[in-house]
Amino acid sequence: MTRKIEDIFDNCLESIFKGESIDDCLKAYPEQAPELEPLLKTSLVFMQRFSAIQPAPEFKARLGSQLQAMLYAKQKKAERRARIPIWQRRWALAMTAILGFLLIGVGTLAASAYALPDGSLYPVKLAGEQVKVTLAFSDIDKAKLHIQFAERRAGEMVEMARQGKGNEIFMLTEQVANHLDKVYVMEQPPEVEEKGPKMLAPTPTPAPSEGAEAYSKGRDAEELEMALSQSRAKSLAALRNALDKAPEELKPVLQQAIEDMEEDYNKTISIIESGSSQ
């Protein structure tokens, strides 16, 4: 089969990147050599010119120090958090948030419902969501909240697309994935050592004495599947609609977000399904 000139050209480029000469490559492809030679010479000129663009070393060092300082602050915060047992941390977060909401007022909390990732009230919105999850009674309620929040993130992506903010769309895609992860991943109980993720709504083979519980868990899985399917349909429809209206420069990031999100929803649904069919 005849190889495409693009493939041959790329092979030669790879060899040149690795330090081989243009002549070595031309010898390997004598038939294409007349076409390849001028293009490879142009490529070599461009490689040399591109490599002349160098950042100022003092800028690189300054930014490196700034990032290290930010990392250090993050680590200190994480260490402080790690000293508090997880259940205390969650309730402390919930109580702090409730107190905070009482202090800043119900109006602010209500206003935060409409906050967007680039807005000052957005952290209040996320804290409110965390409180809801913490206070939810059961794992299934927590899972449903995460589905609801994943869909909410998709709505925020639509608004960010309208405002032309590509990076916020990209970051929200990651947040959707994290919410969907939490639909089926549960914290390991401290006394039990298990490997791999645990289903929030598992449907193990029912033992006679566990019949009622298994029935309930099977129903939970069905409910989750349905909620996920509906959420997927709504989120993807909203994003596809946004894609149609988006400016050209934003379309690739939106398209990628749609593909990633669809993959994440499908993965979550298939895990729930496989759990309920066991």
Binding site: E6, R49, P55, L63, G64, Q68, L71, F170
Partner: protein
């Protein structure tokens, strides 16, 4: 687990050394990519800074999607540049500053020649189609492999190779036309 996956996994868990390693590895190529897009040293520095700060903030929620870390970083850089150009009303344009210092050295004549070459390079690259420009910047400017460029842009490797080939053909014509 690959070395990169190990480093990224540690960075996700908040390991400062791992993040520093990723910064060292990718800083130059991100800067070069941004520079080619904005054509201005001060703005390229501001945007590169924003890219790494955003990456640091978001690394905790990084998801493995069969996507090399560098492709994730380039998506942040790409979006940051697009946001910036949109705010400036410069989408699709690259504006070169009048007085730029790109290369340092002790020979002024050599430096001036180099700077002219780079100016010519940026001017030619901006005449390519947006997709060709993106591929050429990532492949030549940032040294990404075809597979990495494909992942970063969400295109298949065959398309990337075709864009690369056609981009170089176009650049050659532009270079010859300049003389």
């Amino acid at each position: 687990m690959s070395i990169e996956k190990d480093v990224v996994s540690r960075a996700i868990k908040g390991d400062g050394g791992a993040f520093a390693q990723l910064y060292e590895e990718h800083f130059d190529r991100i800067y070069r990519y941004v520079y080619l897009k904005v054509g201005n040293q001060a703005e390229a520095e501001d945007l590169t800074q924003e890219v790494f700060v955003k990456a640091l903030e978001a690394i905790g929620s990084y998801k493995w999607r069969n996507l090399p870390f560098v492709a994730w970083l380039f998506r942040i850089a790409h979006n940051q540049v697009i946001d910036y150009l949109r705010k400036q009303g410069k989408v699709g344009k690259v504006v070169l500053e009048d007085d730029i210092t790109l290369v340092s050295g002790s020979n002024p004549a050599f430096m001036a020649e180099r700077e002219l070459e780079i100016e010519e390079l940026i001017n030619n690259v901006k005449k390519l189609s947006p997709a060709q420009r993106e591929v050429i910047s990532l492949r030549f400017g940032s040294g990404l492999s075809v597979a990495e460029v494909a992942k970063a842009l969400g295109k298949n490797p065959g398309t990337v190779k075709a864009l690369q080939y056609n981009g170089i053909v176009a650049l050659r014509k532009l270079m010859l036309g300049d003389r």
